[in-house]
Amino acid sequence: MTDIGDLGAVDSSESWVREVLEPDQLTTTKIHYGRRMLSRGELVLLWGLRFYVVFMVVIVGLAVWNGLHAAG
């Protein structure tokens, strides 16, 4: 039984909820989309992003290093 006490006076039947919400908006009926089939170009792009993440970590690390040395 759904606790809807804090909604105040409201129709506790559920049909109106299903009328105004789409199925994917209900918390228990979402279908998982599943993994996307990647094209060759998208695979290359995502691998490029992985290398970018490494680059990003290095740059942020250098920024932190420079900042700590400047403060020290």
Binding site: T2, L21, T27, I31
Partner: protein, 463 residues
């Protein structure tokens, strides 16, 4: 029976009947009832053709994300720009940056409305665990550091009125917690909208600065003047402003807020209006801030090392005590609204990736991880700000670097998702949307990368 995967062979035949049966059989949660109550009002006013009421009901995520981006550091950046360059190049430039922000943010509206999923959730589902957790992790880190800068602005703004730092920060934290614990998306949204509209407080300050209206208008046509010409400092400022036009939390926040609000594809047009309205309001506030600090430029006041409240103090002789007071209040508002929206974006991403609660409509009992993220993110940032001798300037610099560096993955995923016809259907990007979307993306990424590299290796920049 295995859960069907959307788009898999045979799923189409199963979809309609399966969906109907599942929907009819599904038990409803409190979150469903709350969202349905909000949607019921939308449906009623749409069928009654009460367009203004409908617009009122549907605005929110777009205005909040744009005005939230006018956060404490951004307003200080605009103030610094006005003090250094006066009325000229940067007025039309700021307008163009918000146009670019609209192009990007509009895609999140369509994504959220068409898929009913938040940004982190979609990345997790479509690209796997690594990218899902990476997106959540780097967003959480960037947001935490950004929240520190917001509490700095809150402390500075209220410090102008003599409010002790601890009281200012604690008060802001309590406000953040209190609004989140309303456990109702609609309530949270309306309260924060009410706060966010005070971003326009910089407009009366600009008027009090007595700008020459002809100069303001002329600058939009001539993109000038540019005092000092194109220097290394100007290029760096340009790159940092472009690179920071859209930050990762904006993508995650708006898409998840669209979902939490319950928008559907029928609401996309209003979502666009909401986003455009937000961009206009934010641009007006930003431009007003530049104009408001122009007296400092005209009187050769060196504001390069000014912190938040220093601007209010320095402006007092030119805009009066009232103007200075409004400026300080605006700084507090900017930090406060950003703290509210940014902490929420972290909670959305966490819930979406971990499969736990991800809505402000969640009850406290089942949704405690969601609320815990909001509260702990804000609390950690608040505590850091109050630590004596904490390296806050260092954190502010690092935040800028992280924000621009974290943007490329976030925006690449945005483009991949919004072009994914399997999930977007007819609402996927068309040729024109891709032209502008990819164009803006390339500009944001290159400017951001350039800014980050030069920040770390400043000698690369010619003086």
């Amino acid at each position: 029976m295995d859960r069907p995967v959307r788009g898999s062979p045979g799923a189409a035949r199963m979809n309609d009947l399966s969906l109907h049966l599942r929907t009819a059989a599904a038990s409803l949660s409190l979150e469903d009832f709350k969202r349905a109550r909000d949607r019921q009002r939308v449906c009623r006013h749409r069928s009654d053709r009460q367009w203004w009421t409908l617009l009122w009901l549907l605005i929110g995520p777009g205005i909040l994300v744009m005005l939230g981006e006018n956060d404490g550091p951004s307003m200080i950046s605009y103030a610094t720009t006005g003090a250094a360059y006066g009325i000229g190049f940067f007025l039309p430039f700021i307008a163009v940056t918000f146009l670019m922000a609209f192009v990007v943010q509009e895609m999140t509206v369509r994504l959220g409305a068409a898929t009913k999923r938040g940004h982190a959730e979609l990345i997790y589902e479509r690209f796997g665990r690594f990218w899902g957790f990476f997106a959540m992790g780097d967003l959480a880190l960037g947001n935490l550091l950004t929240l520190v800068t917001e509490f700095i602005a809150i402390r500075a703004g209220l410090g102008f009125f003599g409010v002790p730092p601890a009281l200012a920060v604690l008060g802001a934290l309590l406000l953040n917690v209190g609004v989140a614990l309303s456990r109702r998306y609609w309530t949270w949204e309306r309260i924060v909208l009410g706060l966010a509209i005070f971003n326009l407080i910089f407009v009366p300050v600009a008027i009090l600065a007595h700008p020459v209206s002809g100069e303001v208008i002329r600058s939009f046509f001539t993109w000038g003047p540019l005092p000092g010409g194109v220097t290394g400092g100007f290029v760096l400022l340009l790159m940092s402003n472009i690179g920071a036009t859209v930050t990762p939390w904006m993508l995650f926040f708006q898409q998840s807020a669209v979902v939490d609000k319950g928008l559907t594809t029928a609401d996309i047009r209003h979502g666009r209006i909401d986003t455009a309205l937000g961009a206009v309001l934010a641009a007006v506030a930003a431009i007003a801030t530049v104009i408001a600090t122009t007296p400092l430029f005209l009187h050769h006041v060196n504001a390069a090392s000014f912190q938040g409240a220093d601007f209010a103090t320095a402006l007092a002789p030119y805009v009066g005590r009232v103007g200075a007071t409004l400026f300080a209040l605006g700084l507090f508002e900017a930090g406060m609204v950003a703290a509210l929206t940014i902490s929420l974006s972290s909670a959305y991403a966490f819930g979406e990736v971990t499969g736990s609660a991800r809505s402000l409509n969640s009850p406290l009992r089942g949704g405690w991880p969601f609320y815990a993220v909001i509260i702990s993110a804000a609390a950690i940032a608040a505590v850091l700000v109050l630590i004596p001798n904490a390296p806050l300037v260092f954190i502010t610099i690092i935040v800028n670097v992280i924000a621009v560096l974290a943007m490329p993955p976030a925006i690449v995923f945005l483009l991949l998702l919004v072009n994914d016809r399997e999930i977007m259907g007819e609402h996927a990007n068309g040729g024109l949307a891709n032209f502008f979307g990819i164009g803006v993306t390339v500009l944001l990424v290159l400017a951001g990368l350039g800014f980050a590299v030069i920040t770390v290796f400043p000698k690369l920049l010619p003086t």
